[in-house]
């Protein structure tokens, strides 16, 4: 397996490859078969649970899968990984941030960066904050952001490259509905396999075929978790034996799967979000180099046209810097526990591997890169891009929240405090 260097990445970005993909296997922190809490969503009233599940056919067999982390959540996690590296000083890149640390009473908000704001550089919170003495969108930086578009992306590249990587739609900016729209270049999802959801789906014939004998449900020692298949986690009766799961009013014998399906909803337990057990989880992340190749740079961030003969290389260099950032997000994310939400901690069971995908249908090339390697790659790539005429901003990009905003949030907090006292 080759280690990825700037030259290889640059060639891939220039046209050699369609995408870089990473497939990672994870286990629940408690081991395969442990219970995890997937993401819950809005479902109709008669839905048996609140998860996004799917019956897949793998190798001729049906395997139930459940969504643990959506594309949107995946983006947030990648952004968080970049933010940590930026804050610690490992990665140097332009990050617009609204700083609340000088706002009396709101210091706890600390800094809200483009990596935290839902709509990135186009987010409302930046729009209502101040930079260089004026409203963000009236400043030179803000104007550059507003005027960026895929056909001329230098402004956004200079001031907020992560917005190009994760996608941005400036639908509420000065151009209203015609504001810039950048599609994401990276997408990441985590799916749990062989999910056994505690509630039966659909009809009386259980498509999971949980036979009466094979799945004994015990009452979980933690009422918020409802049921468990694991005796060790079960609540015990006076004799020290595990208690069978029982809901009053439900059909079926105690401890049988049907017991979990009927009956009244206990006040402390969400019947439809009691968790699932999975054998393992798979994270699939794709960084689309083809999407990056849609970004063009006819002028630099000051508006000066790039000299024709240099333009092609400059564009490749800028796109390569973005690709490096994407890879950094993927590698750095690995450093964190995959702590997706309460009671959903996943642990990678292997080192992260990358595949370089080409269009010609050839076998993907396996490449590897570690933390230090990717940080160095980002540094080299951004320097190369700067030399080619498309640098990242190095100036301070800290915004202050509008006094009005600070005042109003403080008022709201005071009010709440008074209500509670």
């Amino acid at each position: 397996m080759n280690s990825l260097d700037l030259q290889t990445l640059s060639e891939a970005v220039a046209g050699g490859a369609v995408a870089i993909r990473s497939r990672l296997r994870l286990h629940p922190a408690g081991g395969p078969g442990d219970k995890v809490m997937p993401a819950t969503y809005g479902v109709e009233d008669r839905a048996p649970h609140k998860y996004a599940d799917e019956d897949r056919i793998v190798g001729g067999e049906r395997r139930k899968t459940v969504l643990l982390s959506s594309v949107a959540a995946g983006a947030n996690q990648l952004e968080l990984a970049l933010r940590e590296a930026w804050e610690s000083g490992d990665l140097a890149l332009p990050i617009l941030a609204v700083d609340f640390s000088n706002a009396d009473g709101l210091e706890d908000l600390d800094r809200i960066t483009v990596l935290d704001a839902p709509h990135r550089a186009a987010d409302a919170i930046l729009r209502d904050s101040l930079l260089d003495g004026t409203l963000f969108r009236l400043s030179d930086v803000g104007l550059a952001v507003t005027n960026s578009r895929p056909g001329s992306a230098a402004g956004l590249f200079h001031y907020s490259p992560t917005s190009l990587l994760f996608g941005m739609w400036d639908s509420t900016g000065p151009k209203g509905g015609l504001g810039a729209k950048f599609e994401r270049a990276i997408t990441s999802e985590i799916v749990g396999l062989d999910a056994e959801i505690g509630v039966r789906v659909g009809s009386r014939i259980d498509p999971l075929a949980i036979e009466k004998k094979s799945a004994v449900l015990y009452e979980h020692v933690d009422p918020a978790q409802g049921w468990t298949l694991d005796e060790a986690e079960a609540a015990k009766d006076e004799k020290g034996k595990p208690k069978l799961y029982e809901r009053s009013g439900g059909e079926g014998e105690k401890g049988t799967p049907s017991k979990a399906n009927h009956g009244n909803i206990a006040p402390t337990i969400d019947r439809r979000a009691g968790g699932v057990t999975i054998s393992e989880a798979v994270e699939i992340t794709v960084l689309s180099l083809a999407a990056l190749r849609k970004l063009r740079f006819p002028v630099d961030h000051t508006g000066a046209p790039l000299p024709a003969e240099a333009r092609r290389d400059a564009e490749t260099a800028a796109r390569t810097a973005l690709a490096a950032l994407g890879l950094a997000a993927m590698v750095l994310r690995h450093e964190f526990d995959y702590d997706l939400r309460s009671r959903c901690l996943l642990v990678p069971v292997e080192p992260r591997r990358f595949e370089l995908l080409r269009r010609d249908g050839s076998e993907p090339e396996q490449i590897s890169i570690d933390r230090n390697g990717v940080i160095e790659l980002v540094r080299q790539a951004s320097e190369a891009s700067a030399r080619a005429g498309l640098p990242w901003a190095t100036r301070d990009l800290t915004l202050t929240p509008a006094p009005k905003l600070v005042e109003l949030v403080r008022l709201s907090r005071d009010r709440l405090a008074r209500l509670e006292s």
């Binding site: 056919i57 969504l67 949107a72 809200i112 400043s139 104007l143 005027n147 000065p174 794709v286």
Partner: protein, 529 residues
């Protein structure tokens, strides 16, 4: 031959079905590929004329065949997406535009004006009438959210190929492949793809077909120019409705799937059209119609007609061997009106069919060319041969298709009384429904089908056009002990582990058209035989 191969790099295809916001689409409509190619053409600064020509050539081609595996559907749930239209500061886009113009103008005067425009203390300091809620909502954690769905599917094979059986002119191939190299997604932005021309398309699993139930969008001549024109308006930002034409597709039986099981029901059908386009019988009148139909034929049978034609043993009791059935064919499914369009004579074998067709000929002759079924209170309805009929409902292949999921178009009569399905006691009610489900499974076994892996029973219809079971007149038959018994009617949906070839008719009333099932094509089951 032109074959375009699209590989879904994340293993998923995310896109909303144009006719149902909460449903996914599979296979991916070819129009999406065309749009992606046009977008790829437009994203180049110097728009290539060869590529434009290639697109104009492609739009003239008929809809392609598609080689796509089955796909499983992720349950469509509602995601809540943070909004971006909260604000505490008044909108200032006009100021921004003015500043831009002035900066372009340059000079000291312009600079002064810019500085003035940038003086915003009056906009950003006084609280005024702005609510605290707006302020709190700006914070990411507190941002209000809007519901959105992202229907998505996982195909078994992430490669989908679009196949045109046409001659590829010179130059077109190169230009198309160049375009395809720039296509990075099909569907939602997270549906990332790699696309290219291929010389090895594989076997098509979906074909355009006039009787197809799946509608996928393709394009017409002029699409390219239309898209270009529309883009000037919407700029990829405004909501838009793109021109397209819906093409019916039918799944093709693949070679690599196990042969479908057939139900043991009479499968030699002769179809008559009933009523006129202005006036059709209601689906609730199925039993009355089929009985009248049967009576009309029986009245014209010779005295020595076999049991398989009469349905009765010599001693007058109902026949226990395979015999003819009399069906009413209702218009159900997409846009189904729930009216009966036809009647079908279903014979178990050739000789029975011959006997009954002779009877039919005599009946027609005796009616001076205007045969009618006289269905008592359900009225009199003219019938005529439907061999030239184009309506899908009147085509036997619609009912004899192959599918894993079947649903009742006409409710089925349970062979045994399940108990009170409307009991006020929930335990008794649950037991009755359990028995009803068991009864449906028994009905499947009775006609030689494997047990379904999933059964849903309801009194409500489960396909458009069908009517609630409670609205049907009672079906009275002679029970085993010779006494009259009223059968309980229910609707059912059954899903089998492997595809089943129709027709599928379940239950005690199946020789009179009750329990007639229609295949349900989930696109992602991709009924490939």
């Amino acid at each position: 031959m032109l074959a375009i191969e699209v590989t879904f790099l994340t293993g998923r295809f995310v896109a909303t079905n144009p006719s149902d916001r909460n449903a996914a689409e599979w296979p991916p409509a070819p129009a999406r590929l065309f749009s992606a190619m046009v977008a790829a053409w437009a994203s180049e600064e110097a728009r290539d004329t060869d590529e434009a020509d290639a697109l104009r050539w492609l739009e003239q081609q008929p809809a392609p065949a598609i080689a796509a595996s089955m796909a499983s559907e992720r349950r469509v749930v509602t995601h809540y997406v943070p909004v971006n239209d909260v604000a505490v500061v008044r909108s200032h886009g006009d100021k921004a535009l003015q500043i831009e113009e002035l900066l372009r103008a340059a000079g000291p005067k312009a600079a002064m004006k810019v500085a003035k425009l940038r003086e915003v203390s009056r906009l950003v300091t006084p609280v005024g009438a702005t609510s605290t809620q707006s302020a709190v909502e700006l914070l990411p954690e507190q941002r209000p959210r809007q519901p959105r769905t992202y229907p998505s599917v996982t195909p078994i094979d992430p490669v989908v190929t679009y196949i045109w059986d046409v001659d590829l002119p010179e130059g077109i191939a190169t230009a198309l492949d160049r375009l395809l190299g720039r296509v990075h997604r099909v569907g939602h932005s997270s549906s990332m793809v790699s696309a290219r021309l291929t010389g090895r398309p594989g076997t098509a699993t979906w074909m355009p077909a006039a009787d197809g139930e799946t509608r996928l969008r393709w394009v017409r001549a002029g699409q390219f120019d239309a898209l270009e024109r529309l883009y000037l308006e919407h700029q990829a930002s405004r909501p838009r409705s793109l021109p397209s034409s819906a093409v019916r597709y039918r799944p093709v039986c693949g070679l690599d799937h196990s042969p479908a099981v057939s139900a043991d029901v009479p499968a030699r059908w002769t179809v008559l059209e009933v009523g006129t386009s202005q006036r059709r019988p209601s689906i609730l009148q199925v039993a009355a119609l089929t009985q009248a139909f049967r009576n009309a034929l029986l009245a014209n049978l010779p005295p020595d007609a076999p049991e398989s034609a009469t349905g009765h043993a010599p001693d007058g009791t109902p026949s226990r061997s395979p015999h003819a059935g009399f069906l009413a064919l209702p218009w159900v499914g997409e846009h189904g009106a729930g009216t009966v369009l036809g009647l079908a004579l279903a014979a178990p074998d050739r000789s029975t069919e011959d006997v009954l067709l002779d009877a039919m000929a005599r009946w027609f002759a005796a009616s001076a060319g205007r045969p009618e079924v006289v269905a008592g209170r359900a009225g009199r309805w003219g019938v005529r041969s439907a061999s030239q009929a184009t309506a899908l409902t009147l085509r036997p292949e619609r009912w004899a298709a192959t599918a894993t999921t079947w649903v009742t178009a006409v409710p089925l009569a349970l062979p045994r009384h399940p108990g009170d399905l409307r009991a006020s006691d929930p335990t008794m009610r649950a037991r009755a429904w359990d028995r009803a489900e068991a009864g449906v499974i028994e009905c499947c076994r009775h006609i030689g089908l494997p047990d379904p892996v999933q059964v849903t029973v309801d009194r409500q219809p489960m396909v458009v056009g069908a009517r609630p079971a409670s609205q049907y007149p009672a079906l009275r038959q002679t029970g085993r002990d010779g006494r009259p018994v009223a059968r309980v009617l229910v609707h059912a949906q059954v899903k089998f582990a492997a595809p089943v070839r129709g027709p599928v008719i379940l239950g005690a009333g199946r020789f009179l058209g009750l329990g007639l099932m229609v295949p349900l094509y989930d696109n992602w089951e991709g009924e490939h035989g």
